[in-house]
Symmetry: D2
């Protein structure tokens, strides 16, 4: 059941990092949407390995092939099937971990759940699966753009190096964050982050961080009152990304220390439009968008694949020492930015479509 996301605009993914291909099926995309293939590829390129010296040196082109649902450049309303071939998988890198449970990986839990596992590259638990989310997210972005809904994520912190979140101007922030390899819009902080990642990489270690996400132009009315609150679905979307440990929106954890009289966002009318003077609500009230900017923050742990000696156990439950090899990311944050945007896009478009049947 857990391989699909969304109720109307729905993505189902399949694939392991070391099979022939990964892929997905997108259902519920409205017909007649122009599909800009180069935009989709450019989104994949933002996620792809090997894009800079602070990501894994593994290189994969991540070329998507669409198999259905698009005809003469437009969506047909039928399911969009696509695959991304696995071109650069070195399965032999993994033969030494076949019988070993790497610390803080999914090796042990998969084996406990399924009784066997595809040990090559983490199998289904590999973050490679998220490339499919980027494809679907890119298509969702194309639809959302028609309604001027604009989503931007950027790296807010790496380890202890953190900028205070900026919320506008979204275009300037986009430009600034894509100008450096760590995708942080604060140039000075970006330098420090890159330097920290390089240090960490040298030691074969990894480091975590936070991604901040802004959504502008969301109309009022998206989200549902009870279980499918807009922020609950955004939260689930983010927590479903590999290595994510936390999610907060609006005032978030800091809001727990506030008084209601400070936290309440006072409504007022400005040029005929309803706005709020502050936005601790993060653009969502009672689970439903109120037309203000939506913003949230996502916590990523340091990835588990480190290149130093570690103690662990093997399938016979014996204590052993391992030293993992391969080509891995010292910090996933820069490559996770487009994934955060993609998952946010899926949630937004799904709720946008769901909302079409609400009011008579």
């Amino acid at each position: 059941m857990g391989n699909s996301f969304g109720k109307i605009f729905k993505l189902t993914t399949f694939g392991e990092s070391h099979g022939d291909a990964i892929g997905g099926v997108i259902e519920g995309c409205p017909s007649n949407v122009n599909v800009d293939l180069s935009f989709i590829q450019s989104e994949l390129d933002r996620r792809k390995p090997g894009q800079s010296r602070i990501t894994t040196s593994r290189k994969e082109d991540d070329q998507v092939t669409f198999l259905s649902g698009i005809f003469e450049g437009k969506t047909t309303g039928t399911p969009i099937g696509f695959i991304i071939p696995n071109t650069n998988s070195r399965s032999k890198d993994y033969s030494n971990i076949k019988d070993v449970y790497r610390p803080s990986h999914a090796d042990y839990t998969y084996e406990e759940k399924y009784g066997l596992r595809d040990y090559r590259g983490g199998g289904r638990s590999s973050a490679r699966e998220t490339a499919c989310r980027v494809v679907a997210g890119a298509i969702a972005k194309l639809v959302l753009a028609k309604y001027n809904i604009d989503i931007l994520a950027y790296v807010q912190s790496v380890g202890d190096v953190a900028m205070s979140p900026k919320k506008h101007d979204i275009n300037l922030l986009r430009k600034a964050s894509e100008e450096n390899m760590v995708r942080c819009p604060n140039a000075e902080m970006a330098k420090k982050m890159i330097s920290l990642i390089e240090q960490v990489k040298k030691k074969g270690d990894t480091v975590g961080g936070r991604i901040f996400c802004l959504i502008n132009g969301v109309p009022t009315g998206l989200g549902e009152p009870v279980f499918d609150k807009l922020h609950a679905d955004l939260g689930k979307a983010m927590l479903s990304i590999n290595a994510v440990k936390g999610f907060e929106y609006g005032s978030g954890f800091d809001g727990t220390r506030m008084k209601g009289s400070e936290h309440n966002d006072v409504f007022e009318t400005k040029s005929g439009k309803v706005i709020t003077q502050t936005n601790y609500s993060g653009g969502i009230q009672g689970g439903i968008s109120n037309g203000q900017q939506i913003y949230f923050s996502v916590a990523f742990k340091p990835v588990a694949t480190i290149l130093t000696d570690q103690n662990t156990i093997d399938k016979s439950k014996d204590n052993i020492k391992i030293k993992v090899q391969g080509r891995h990311d010292p910090c996933v944050l820069p490559r996770a930015v487009p994934i955060v945007e993609a998952m946010a896009s899926l949630v937004l478009l799904d709720h946008f479509l769901r909302n079409k049947t609400t009011k008579w």
Copy 2:
């Protein structure tokens, strides 16, 4: 679509705070479970208004009536329908807010979404809906208890008053937290929290805080690899509770500042059982439970209903001043503890049942 939670063990709720009753339907509960009605009622009592001087003075008995699915004291495997009558709703308290959008409430967003709203007591957005979750959660707890899965939540902070989270002994923590009206297991901090809430209440103001939740006894293998990661479903469950602004599990936001070499949980075998030396993973790896303790933290904002003058707008978009009246909670944390436990129970039992079809 958004009125149901769960895929196999599924709760659907209905009801506004000021109709005849709220209620729900529980599907997928296995047959032959002994239904301990007094336990279910005791869980409702932990959530009910008017239980202490730091909660709302509104009194509702919150008596649940089961209409189906239980026969001669046991579940029959068919849907369990139940209602909780609304006995103490004073609708006239709300006539003055009929045409007003209260700051940081759902008034404005509901009206934008649906074109009309039941303005009495917040209608469907009222936290009264969560009583139904407590009923379903109590039944889930009865099933989970058979497998020694044990869930405890407690108040970790109110405003700036915070204890450092304790993770064992779960029974002592339970005893200690239920001994005071704020449900914090640290007696000293509990006193300070109560005193803070009383101060805030006196001013007609409100305050937020954090709830910490522990789950012991979860077998390995619960959760799914990709979108329905166990922590993603826990996160959505928590974020769907009124006033929640954030969720983190395991190392959470603090984990973003760690190195992989610090964060990795080393496996070892202890008396034939696989354990991890540390538990930054929070009992979940690759989205699947690894048999260690699951723990997470939930951020609650200060509730929006304050009893002081506030600026806002009305339906004609005119600026006005309002002073909300009624009987409200200065701090929802104490009453939210059983809701957090209930939602965690729903997630755990649903994944427990889902996992039954996984391995051949």
Copy 3:
């Protein structure tokens, strides 16, 4: 999972025939629909027991109480919870069948599936559950009527007494079929059917028959290409009604004996509207409505509760003789007419709403 029907306009039902009440939750009803309570009750009255001398003599008022989702006479867009109290259940009638598996009832299969059963009145397998479908169907009809979608079912045959299906004029057919207690629009045949049912009843026996259903005014475009073809969902809807053994639409089983050259419905334009010269397609092509009249036929077996001696087995698997008592229908067809209409309404409205997100 199997207690809900529909994807956007969704009904979930609960309740056994001998608990306090049966009931349901309707999700996805658009807001702002005027709820005509007397119409809903009149639909329930068409289904209620004791309405004529050819139905069961059991009398139940079947009064529906709405608990939520309706405010000041209009739907609010939130779930509509409702209950129908069980007022005239004589549980003692069933004590003698507690340990017996009645032939062709669900006694044996429920006990095999769940390990126990509510033996009073068939428990969840009682056709009483369909009253909830009639409530939801009535609300769906109110919405569909705004779009001039009009649904009529009538009794086409009882045992060997059959009229050839008439497809228009729908208003005349409605009037004629509601004029007699068997709900057959052919007055002469109606008399024969009533006489047959009376004979059968005298012997404590039962008899089956066919219901024919017409749907006018369906716009083009409802239904989905592959699994959720409009007729597949109508078929499932009908086959989910108690005692139904078959479903055919358009040319149906007779169509298997035709040639393509006879069966193809030729398109033509008439006053600017696309129509087909014949309608063997039954208004649905490739699973999607083509704007022509939809029609189908539903087969009901004779109900299993007969009042004569029967051989069977008990829980100890011993052969025994039973003589069932109680108040039962000699023929369910007249009371099944509103159920067929209700289920058709649920399918149509669900697909109507689903279709709103299809085209850009």
Copy 4:
């Protein structure tokens, strides 16, 4: 939403007849199932075009490629993605129908629904999509075979040529029906059917018929009481197959003419096993399997693609004459046999897995 089938064992398909490939994703297949690739291919071969002189002369190898979910010959519990390349699609055959609505095809309804269509070969409405169902059904059969659940379909009638349905011996029936190209187990009737199809083909016409399906070895307890009755899901499964117009199970439409006293299936115990003396119930009572043989019948209309002149309209709504060309089946029945079996397998396995969580 309508591109998936099943709730736990779930197939999602994608693809048009003239894109690069069709394909699907199978979720919920238990781990550790041995995947017999040659069996899967042999099932596809039973469906493939060009297999005999009474099917279309179009030849496609229909070679399935699995992309994920299988590792070292076993299922891993993760989604099984697969594609079937479209190797022999002559798109130019369809250029003349680009702007034409062929009678009784999906051309008009697709265009009305989506505002555009992939006109090559019917696009998504092509029966080519069913090849994906055969792949998933074959995997389901492999799982069901472990539990001795055995499914057989055969051609019971073509046009007016009909055999009376035989229900055993299932192995002899299988052998007999696979011995001739029309897949009818009655050799004499098979000859007549083949001769009829050849006549029809010569005239460029088509003919319909019925497929009969038997399922042996189903344990008690599969199916759910209300909406997801086992026969309701089988009915939907069958009605979702291209060209199907009707479904009946057990006594079916004939049962409408019976009395309850004739129709009731008397239980008895035979060598310690509960059986019924007759089986008008078709192995399903109250929507749940009772351990007896399940059987049903499926009506197929004559396919709409005929090679003679026909009147119709074009996109401008002008009346025109068309003569369709291409390579088409004069009768789909022989190739539909494995599709009926596949869809039955999907339903059975899904309910088998669903039932695993029912009883405590």
